[in-house]
Point group: C2
Chain length 119, copies 2
Amino acid sequence: MSKQRESVLPIAAACCPPLAVAPLSGEQAADLAPMFKALGDPVRLRLMSMIASTDEVCVCDLTDAFDLSGPTISHHLRVLREAGLVDSERRATWVWYRARPQALKQLAGLLDIATPAAV
Amino acid sequence: MSKQRESVLPIAAACCPPLAVAPLSGEQAADLAPMFKALGDPVRLRLMSMIASTDEVCVCDLTDAFDLSGPTISHHLRVLREAGLVDSERRATWVWYRARPQALKQLAGLLDIATPAAV
DNA sequence: GAGCTGATTCGAGATTCGTCAAGACAGGGA
DNA sequence: TCCCTGTCTTGACGAATCTCGAATCAGCTC
């Protein structure tokens, strides 16, 4: 991530109507599934929530919150980054992570239920 | 699924504020991650969209839509079912699947972005 | 009851994933 | 310049996942 060329992300590729409105094509599903998959691990879901609930987070703070090794946290952050859910930026010694609201919004829209009364 | 006792699902366990509002606890993340994980496979994501976009779908129709064997489709449907995302019901010879709007709504709420202006 | 159709479960093989230890790289301070 | 701190990458291993064929179960029709 030292290189910022990952700004070309799979986000724009998929912009679909809610699941409850129309079925996805195979291609759309293949584009979107990695995002859900990235959130499908408890550690990554918690990392995502920690990153999204503040403006920026330092890796050092994230590492301290888990009983996992540094490389493991780094690996999970990389998965989130490659899924387009977060951005990273090196600033002096530390690396800071920031959420990508676009991506979260896209997933939320996909899961939106057309019938609010449905229970 | 022949037995309907799976109606006791992990849904009620987790009911959390949006990711962008407060970080998840380890327990909350462990409850929610399986749902995202279930949607993290292209085949399952497409199955979910096919089920959610109509009232009910017969397994036979789902199987026909993929180049996969029956047991494989059955496996993916089981994952969706155990994650609490769909319900199944046997009616005569056929088994019908239905989405659980509660679950989709919960996930959508979790991904909701507090700042609609954010881009 | 016998036979048929549809769906699930079981068992096995190949692939992917999660984790860590060791090494490499980037940047700041003496 | 050299060393130290902090982070990422690489390589490796066990565990979980995806897929299929074969066998099993559920229900209808004759």
